[in-house]
Symmetry: C2
Subunit: 228 residues, 2 copies
């Protein structure tokens, strides 16, 4: 094996390439390109040709698209170990969504041809991809159903809990989204996101310092996310 290959040491190897050895790993390793993006930078643009299979090594990204009015809708937020160039990649030749960096991020890019050629030789890797993809797609669908049934306050609560429990593992964190982006994600207006946050602050559920959120009363917030 190529001794200069660093993929063997990559903590994300197990994500897709568990069953990869020798020549196949060398192929991925020599063909891969790592790219860095600063906060706010565009990673993938809706409508461009798909050339690479992209996954996130570090940082946080949003996937989004424009609706028929030109307004942006956020489809999902992904952290490392989640896909980035997920769904369209195996069925389309161009991206259905855009992706951009919510925090400074690093991606690993592998040519689609390489992935496809290896997957067709290595069924276990293909099955692994299938498993991972279905999990990610499922989460997007279930989250979108969950959001749909909630009232506005519940949607904002849902989002705050997500950041606290799944992304930052703390009751205090900096929101990676503007109020406007939060609105684009949960399908409401910016004003109503702000109003919901203000109400939570007024009711002693949150402390808010600009983008910094401190969840004081998680239990109440959870019951709002569930029923309110």
């Amino acid at each position: 094996m190529d001794p200069s290959c660093t993929c063997e040491l990559c903590e994300l190897k197990g994500l897709f390439f568990e069953n990869l050895e020798g020549d196949q790993l060398d192929m991925i390793c020599s063909g891969k390109v790592e790219k860095e993006f600063s906060q706010g930078e565009s990673i993938i643009k809706e409508g461009t040709m798909i050339k690479d299979f992209v996954y996130l090594k570090s940082g946080l990204v949003k996937q989004f698209r424009s609706d028929s009015y030109g307004k942006e809708q956020i489809i999902s937020i992904s952290k490392p170990f989640d896909y980035v160039s997920l769904l369209s990649v195996f069925s389309n030749d161009q991206y259905n969504y855009s992706v951009s960096a919510l925090e400074d991020s690093v991606t690993c890019n592998i040519k689609m041809e390489d992935i496809k050629s290896i997957a067709s030789d290595n069924g276990n890797l293909a099955l692994n991809l299938l498993k991972k993809m279905s999990k990610v797609a499922d989460k997007i669908i279930l989250d979108s159903l969950a959001i749909r049934t909630k009232h506005l306050r519940g949607r904002v609560a849902f989002l705050l809990i997500y950041f606290s429990q799944d992304v930052y593992f703390s009751s205090e964190f900096d929101l990676p989204l503007s109020r406007k982006e939060m609105a684009e994600y949960v399908g409401m207006t910016t004003e109503n996101v702000i109003r919901s946050l203000s109400e939570f602050r007024r009711d002693g559920i949150l402390k808010i310092y600009g983008k910094t959120i401190h969840i004081v009363n998680m239990d109440t917030l959870k019951s709002i996310a569930e029923f309110g």
Copy 2:
């Protein structure tokens, strides 16, 4: 090859099993079970163990789940050539959704072990599955985003256009959903679905005879789906 195998003649063979020959095709063929369901019958129940990979040979089905209030939400409607047991199948051990027949339907059921064992031997088949699955998941996500941005009348219009253009290929058809189910699909109340239909009738866009819908003015309906 087993001469009694009928899979070779199945018009859906190309869907997933294009690249299947000899022993592998025999394995699928001898293990498969076809099942018939009458309109309204349950095909898959949320929460039960996944044993089979199921696809639809004929008919029409809905996939749905219950929200935290116990209310049903329809996730998607599938016709033949679309998946039935789509997403959860490769990542979960139990179903996240239920499936039931909107019309008399026939499914073909293949043991998950057989699919997995063949996919791990046959990367091209696995890639084919990946391609098909990502297409289906993508459609569900994009449809759900599209519905979310519309007002009530636009959602009902969207649904009617879907049935007319993608399922029945006619401007006159029998709705396979009750008004209540239509509401569960597009996220609104039954009363408002009925109201929207009544308005369309009043405005000369539709003729309605119970479950039979005749779209008289498709152009107007399309502009309502797009902007109204």
